[in-house]
Symmetry: none
Subunit: 215 residues, 2 copies
Amino acid sequence: MMKTIKILLVDDDLKNSMLLKRFVEAEGYEVVYANNGKEGLEMYNVIHPDLILLDINMPELDGFEMARIIRKNDKRVIIFFLTDRTDKVDRLHGFSLKGNDYIPKPFYPEELIAKINERFESLIVNQDVEYQLGDTVFRPNLSSLTYKGETHSLSVRQTEILQMLAENIGKPVERDTILEKIWGDASYSNSLALNVQITYIRRLLPDPSVSITSI
Amino acid sequence: MMKTIKILLVDDDLKNSMLLKRFVEAEGYEVVYANNGKEGLEMYNVIHPDLILLDINMPELDGFEMARIIRKNDKRVIIFFLTDRTDKVDRLHGFSLKGNDYIPKPFYPEELIAKINERFESLIVNQDVEYQLGDTVFRPNLSSLTYKGETHSLSVRQTEILQMLAENIGKPVERDTILEKIWGDASYSNSLALNVQITYIRRLLPDPSVSITSI
DNA sequence: TGGAATTATTACTAAATTATTACCGTTAGT
DNA sequence: ACTAACGGTAATAATTTAGTAATAATTCCA
């Protein structure tokens, strides 16, 4: 399970933006839209995006200004300027503000997607999700359980199952849901296999404050 | 002291290329020029560039074809397509060949420079990197491991692998990621080769406070 | 309460994965 | 051309995994 990558789209052209938004979302990114620089800044402070698609010509606060403000405190976020201003000064201005790319309109959505994918290719793996289960910490990406300093590692199956349970902590998860999602079909033999795996997981959870119960 | 970054410029337009070459060289990069794809491939094999500026329309062997051949064995080199073909199919084709950018002509040399600088910014900063692995110091640029005053040197392969692991210390790195990035494809036989290299690296890491584990 | 259905536990096994060592062809430096 | 290092293949070993099977414990109702 990967943390979704958040993209902030700032452009005063609502119509085209909605289209673009849908395109990018279809690729699995989370897209938040802002209509101008001022609104963009507000959204930026709320969602802390991983990438900003930034139009330059905008009322209230233009893209350059917005980028300048953001870059003062955030060197990490990736900024793509999207604009139909194509003159040299502007394009270079974009780079001098530490924009990471400058994409002149009109562009093909696929092209933008390709550029976005390229940026996040390496980041897509390796997220740092953690679940606190009682006094035990479960790290799906490390396939590990840590309790009282002791860390045990889980097999992939065990990790898959425990992740489903951890995501729904407190709530019950249907047997068949687990079977469908992990085994692909809810056959009887798989159900038995699940029992076995649950036993294994329980054995690795000596923490009395956690328990897996069946209802 | 930083390793110079090598750029291979492949374009059949001699006149413009010489101009561009000078521009890029003025920025501190080492630029090697090739007049067509065939020549480009030869130069590629000689100098192993860090980045390739690649024209598409060329006699002998076009840029797409050249990129395809190179990408078969080298996933790491950065490829920028430079071209006046601006139609959609071509631009996307460029990305599908794992080109890292597609820059339509005409462009401003400053803009290209900005894009190049942006790509190597992290490398330029990370010149004399050292990784502290437990009580061992790993210096990728020296291909060396120092533990208790003893320094051992690593082979290129071992350095590449250890660097990937060191960059993600504490986090797991996908086998396939390593294989893709270093070997170029995640075939089974390469996977076995990786096992061997890991064994070699472990042998050079007698420090009990460091370990490479598979999960 | 009794017995069927469900869930738990343990032991066992075949397959897959990872580790280690030995060996070999290629390459670069002398 | 000799040598050493390198990076890989091959053979084999060790470990891990995800099941099955056998058996036990628990739950649920008529």
